[in-house]
């Protein structure tokens, strides 16, 4: 069997397993319909309140850090959409720590499906479509309000921004999970970079200290989620004065992040010793 054929079959098998597990959890979620609706609405309201806070701020001011409401809304909507996608598809990898702690990860190791797929699909939380929907409404509103001369290239830029943003957040979720193979109780740390990152990316980079923006560009490359492409879209300069081509590097950064996350995950899984050993 050719190597490439084997790999393709492996990927197909993994995706199939993911979809099967997700379908199972969706069925189980929809058994308690009222509960699901409340949770989805709550999930949407949770991220909605962050935007309401920004609206409250703009009831007192016209610009924040030199950006008007539609521009801030664009940052908000794009970051929350990227996070919402990543959170929906594989946000539950953060539960890995508790599985390591109580030893239930062992069960996943003996099943005939990739462990990562099982962990990512574990307790698939359909309610998170709430956050995603809310984010997309804000993004849609912002895109109609922001002054942009739309060309096909710019449409592609927006699509690439959202997808690579989701991939970057997904890689951070995975890195955080891999970290939990060692630090089992530290699930909170990755929240700083995912939810915390989202909280930061909602505001223009001009609001933050230069060093923080540098850290969010070169150390944890959150700036590629939306800051750099969105600033380019709106015709704004980035505060670090990076060369123009950097704005389009989102997909590359996302690919590198995903590669790194995959390596970290493998290293973590290889180093895993079950509880009590």
């Amino acid at each position: 069997m050719a190597e490439s054929f084997g790999r393709a079959a492996l990927v197909r098998h993994g995706v199939r397993a993911y979809l099967l597990i997700v379908a199972m959890w969706v069925r189980s979620t929809l058994t308690y319909r009222a509960s699901f609706v409340i949770m989805a609405v709550g999930n949407a309201a949770g991220s909605g309140l962050e935007f309401v806070t920004i609206l409250l701020m703009f009831s007192h001011i016209d610009t924040l850090g030199g950006f008007g409401l539609p521009e801030v809304a664009l940052l908000c909507g794009s970051s929350a959409t990227a996070l919402g996608l990543a959170d929906l598809l594989l946000g539950n990898v953060e539960r890995l720590g508790s599985r390591v702690r109580d030893g239930t990860l062992d069960i996943l190791l003996v099943r005939p499906a990739p462990v990562y797929v099982q962990v990512a699909a574990d307790r698939f939380a359909l309610r998170r479509v709430g956050r995603l929907a809310q984010a997309m409404v804000v993004l849609g509103w912002a895109l109609t309000r922001v002054q942009v001369d739309w060309t096909p290239g710019r449409v592609v830029l927006v699509a690439a921004m959202l997808l690579s943003g989701a991939a970057i957040f997904g890689a951070i979720f995975t890195l955080g999970a891999a970290f939990q193979f060692w630090a089992q109780d530290a699930a909170q740390v990755q929240n700083s970079f995912t939810y915390g990152g989202n909280a930061m990316l909602q505001y223009p980079p001009s609001v933050f200290a230069k060093d923080l923006v540098r850290g969010a560009t070169f150390v944890v490359p959150l700036a590629f989620v939306n800051w750099l492409p969105a600033l380019r879209l709106m015709g704004r300069d980035d505060p670090l004065g990076l060369p123009g081509w950097v704005d389009f590097m989102g997909p590359v950064v996302a690919a590198v992040m995903c590669g790194g996350a995959a390596l970290a995950w493998r290293a973590g899984l290889r180093g895993y010793r079950s509880t009590g050993s």
Binding site: I38, G42, Q188
Partner: protein, 266 residues
Amino acid sequence: MGLYAAVARGGFRRYATYRTATAAGVFTNTVFGFIIAYTYQALWAERPRLGGYDQAQALTFVWVGQALLATVALAIGGGLDELQERIRNGDIAVDLHRPADLQLWWLAADLGRAGFQLLGRGVVPMAVGALAFDLALPADPALWAAFLVSVVLAVTVGFALRYLVALTAFWLLDSAGVAVLSGLAAMFFSGMLLPLRAFPGGFGEVARLLPWASALQVPADVLLGRYEGAAVLGALAFQAGWAAALLTVGRLVQSAATRKVVVQGG
């Protein structure tokens, strides 16, 4: 009384066990503190004295909020999801037979938890905030003492609210949805997202009368010296009033639940 003190000590020790989780929480609170502090800096630069706070006071508000986030357990959880689970699976029947008051037992455990989280999760973010930003922390020890009393009352109000949420499990079985919605209301109306004094007009005034204001807005204002002289006592009385009212409602709901509802499996 000795019993409840022991329960409170147990609550403290229980949370003190998870050192990595505490360190991770401190890290997260600190990161969020920085992010929010920068956005407030931009907001207050645009509108100085918004809500009657100067910039240093607004930044202090941010870091008080991060220091108290885990202590008052605004978001869901804070140990009471365990009570909720015991109601759902019927273990509550055993608890009701114990020679201890259910509400006081959980209140004592929650105060112990809050005591640990104030020390373990509150002090470090506050110190980092004070080092990184110019904060308006008072030098007057009386203000700090009043602040501590206010925090205890804040925890009690937060507990009373979460206790009510947990009790809904007697009727709903799955009260996760109620917990989420009440957690969101608490985040928003406590001033955690934006100080209630910066809410526009009448909306802000109403928000400041709701119980959630006791959780952050009032303690922060006490520390910032927004209440002059005897007005501090008024602020503490506001919190104590909500605490008493909500604890009483909790007792009424609890007695209604235990009289009418058949325990799971019973």
